[in-house]
C-alpha cells in the first residue's frame, strides 16, 4: 500500500502529541488543526495530481494570495460577490494554463517556469498593494461558504478539503484520465506511443493545481477576512512536502491522493502539536524538514516493495 508509511507516521504523532499535551485531543484543537491541514491540503491535492504527471508547480503559494487578493479588491470596490469570486477563479485557471503553456511550448522544466511565475505573481501582489494587507470592508456570504464555520469549530475549508480529496481520488484512480496521468508521468514515450494526449494532460493538471491553490487561498481569506500580500509564502514547499510524505514521487508516475490527504494532515498536526507541547513555534519548520526526509526514505523502500 502506497500510503502505509504516512498512515503509521500520523498514528505515531497522534499518540505522541496526545501524551505530550492534554489539550491536543480537545475538540477545539482538533478542529483548528484540521482547518490548517485543509488549507494546505487543498493545494496538496492539486500538486499531487500534477506531480504524478511529472511536473511541479512552485507558483501555488503566490496564487494562494493572488486569487483572494483579486476577490478582496473587487468586493471592496462594490463588485458583486459572485462576480468577484468567479473572476478570482478564472484568474486561478488562467495562471495554471499559463504555467502549462510555457512549460509545454518551450520545453523548459516546470520547476523553472513556476519558479518564475511564483516570483512574478508575488512581485505583482507587492507592487499593487504597496506591501499592505487588504482588509475586507463588508461581509460576504460567498466567503462564509469557503472559509466560514459550520459548527463546533469545523469550517467549510475542511469540508472542501474532504470533497477535493474524494473527487480527485476518483479522478485519479477510477477514470481513464487518471490512468493517463500516471502513464504520462511514468513513461511519457509509452504514453505518447499509445496515443495519449500528453500535452493536454499536463496542461490540464497545471490548471487543476493552480485552481485548487486559488480555492485554498479563498478558504484562508474566508477565515481571516484579510489578505496579506505575503500570504502563502513558502506554502508551495509545504505542499510538495505533504505530497512526498504521502508517498508521491518527485520524479512522477507514482503517488496517491489519499496519501496527500494524510501528508497535509500530518503537517497540520505537527504544527499544532508542537505548539501545545510547549516547543517554540520556530521549531516547527525544522521538524517538518526532518519528517520530510525520513518520510521520503521510508516511502522509497515501500515503493521498491510494491512497484519495483
Amino acid at each position: 500500500m502506497k500510503e502505509a508509511g504516512a498512515i503509521i507516521g500520523i498514528a505515531v504523532f497522534f499518540v505522541l502529541f496526545s501524551f505530550l499535551s492534554d489539550r491536543f485531543l480537545s475538540l477545539d484543537n482538533l478542529t483548528s488543526t484540521f482547518t490548517m491541514a485543509a488549507e494546505l491540503g487543498i493545494i496538496t491535492v492539486g500538486m499531487t495530481v500534477l506531480m504524478i504527471s511529472g511536473e511541479f508547480d512552485l507558483s501555488v503559494g503566490s496564487i494562494f494570495a493572488v486569487v483572494p487578493m483579486i476577490v478582496a479588491i473587487m468586493i471592496n470596490h462594490g463588485v458583486n460577490d459572485f462576480l468577484a469570486l468567479l473572476t478570482g477563479l478564472v484568474v486561478g485557471v488562467g495562471t495554471g494554463f499559463l504555467n502549462g503553456l510555457i512549460t509545454i511550448k518551450t520545453e523548459i522544466p516546470s520547476f523553472i517556469t513556476t519558479l518564475g511565475t511564483m516570483m512574478f505573481w508575488r512581485g505583482i501582489l507587492l507592487a499593487v498593494t504597496g506591501g499592505f494587507p487588504i482588509i475586507l470592508e463588508r461581509n460576504s456570504v460567498v466567503l462564509k461558504y469557503l472559509g466560514g464555520e459550520i459548527a463546533g469549530g469545523f469550517r467549510y475549508s475542511g469540508l472542501w478539503f474532504i470533497v477535493a480529496t474524494v473527487l480527485f481520488w476518483i479522478l485519479l484512480e477510477r477514470t481513464a484520465y487518471g490512468n493517463w496521468v500516471f502513464a504520462v508521468g511514468g513513461n511519457v514515450g509509452a504514453a505518447r506511443a499509445l496515443g495519449i494526449p500528453v500535452e493536454r494532460v499536463k496542461i490540464t493538471n497545471f490548471i487543476l493545481s493552480s485552481f485548487l491553490a486559488g480555492i485554498a487561498g479563498l478558504t484562508t481569506f474566508g477565515r481571516f477576512k484579510i489578505v496579506d500580500p505575503t500570504l502563502g509564502t513558502g506554502m508551495e514547499l509545504e505542499a510538495i512536502a505533504a505530497s512526498v510524505i504521502g508517498g508521491t514521487l518527485l520524479s512522477g508516475g507514482y503517488g496517491s491522493i489519499f496519501g496527500a490527504f494524510i501528508g497535509a494532515l500530518m503537517i497540520g498536526m505537527v504544527r499544532s502539536g508542537l505548539v501545545l507541547a510547549g516547543a517554540p513555534a520556530y521549531w516547527y519548520r525544522a521538524f517538518i524538514g526532518v519528517i520530510l526526509v525520513v518520510a521520503a526514505v521510508i516511502n522509497a523502500r515501500i515503493r521498491r516493495k510494491v512497484a519495483g
Binding site: 477510477r174 477514470t175 481513464a176 493517463w180 500516471f182 502513464a183 511514468g186 513513461n187 504514453a191 506511443a193
Partner: protein, 251 residues
C-alpha cells in the same frame, strides 16, 4: 482482397542532407512473419516509422489491404490495425498490468452519469486474455516493474492482439532477454501468426528471427539489399550479406 497486407513502394526519406531511405520497396503478406534485418543506421526504424505514420515519406506510396493510405500520425495506422511494440516504450513500469493493458483504450461504465473505469472487467479480461495466449501472471495488480523482460514483451504483444491488430511490428523484442525468455517470445510470435496476424520482426539477431520468420528483408544504408524466403537462405548467408554490405568481410 489483396494478397498483401502491406505494400510500401519506392519509399524515399531525407533528413536534411542525409538520405535515410533511397527508394525502398517493402511488403508484408497476410499471416506472414517478416524479419527486418540490417546494421544500425540501415534505415529499419525509419522505414517502420513511416509505415506507422510517425514520419511521412518524401516519395513513395503505402498500400494497406490493397488500398492507398496516408498516415498522418500513429493514430491513423492504429485505427486500421497496425500495432507497434517498442522496446522501451511499450509499458509503464510503475503501473499495474491491468492498467497497462487497457492504457489509452480504457473500458468504462456509467455511474450516476459519470464515466468511470470498469476496473473489475479490465482486470478479468486482461488476465483471461493473457492466459489464452499462454501467459500466466500472478495477479492483474502486479506492477510491470516486477515482470521479467520476457513477460513484459508478452504483455505488450498480447495487448496488441487483444485489440485486433492485423499487423504487429516488434522492435528488437528479444534484445536483452535470456535464452528461455527469448523462446517464450518466439513462441508467442508464432501464436500471433496462427491467430491470423502478420508480424514484422526488427532485429540484429538473425538466429532469433530465422526460427520464426517466413521471409527475411535486409536493409543497408537506406537500400534494400536482400529479400528472401526463408528456404532460400541460411542464417550464415544472411550474416555474410549484412557484413559484406557494411564493408566487413567474414571468414
Amino acid at each position: 482482397m489483396s494478397e498483401l497486407l502491406v505494400e510500401m513502394k519506392g519509399i524515399v526519406k531525407n533528413f536534411g542532407k542525409v538520405q535515410a531511405l533511397k527508394g525502398v520497396d517493402f511488403s508484408v503478406g497476410r499471416e506472414e512473419v517478416v524479419g527486418l534485418l540490417g546494421d544500425n543506421g540501415a534505415g529499419k526504424s525509419t522505414l517502420i516509422k513511416i509505415l506507422v505514420g510517425y514520419y511521412q515519406p518524401d516519395e513513395g506510396e503505402i498500400y494497406f489491404e490493397g488500398k492507398r493510405v496516408v498516415f498522418k500520425s500513429p493514430w491513423d495506422s492504429r485505427r486500421l490495425g497496425i500495432e507497434t511494440v517498442y522496446q522501451d516504450l511499450a509499458l509503464v513500469n510503475l503501473m499495474p498490468v491491468w492498467r497497462n493493458f487497457f492504457l489509452g483504450r480504457e473500458l468504462k461504465k456509467k455511474v450516476a452519469g459519470i464515466e468511470l473505469l470498469d476496473v473489475r472487467k479490465m482486470k478479468r479480461l486482461s488476465m483471461d486474455y493473457l492466459k489464452t495466449v499462454g501467459i500466466e501472471l500472478r495477479s492483474p495488480n502486479e506492477t510491470v516493474a516486477f515482470l521479467s523482460g520476457g513477460e513484459r514483451q508478452a504483455v505488450a504483444i498480447a495487448r496488441a492482439l487483444y485489440f485486433g491488430a492485423k499487423l504487429l511490428i516488434l522492435d528488437e523484442p528479444t534484445a536483452a532477454l535470456s535464452v528461455g525468455e527469448t523462446r517464450r517470445v518466439l513462441e508467442l510470435i508464432l501464436e500471433t501468426k496462427r491467430r491470423g496476424t502478420s508480424v514484422v520482426f526488427i532485429t540484429h539477431n538473425i538466429y532469433h528471427v530465422y526460427e520464426v520468420a517466413d521471409r527475411l528483408v535486409i536493409l543497408e544504408k537506406g537500400e534494400k539489399i536482400g529479400d528472401y524466403r526463408k528456404d532460400e537462405v541460411t542464417p550464415e548467408e544472411v550474416m555474410d550479406i549484412i557484413a559484406s554490405a557494411a564493408g566487413v568481410s567474414r571468414k
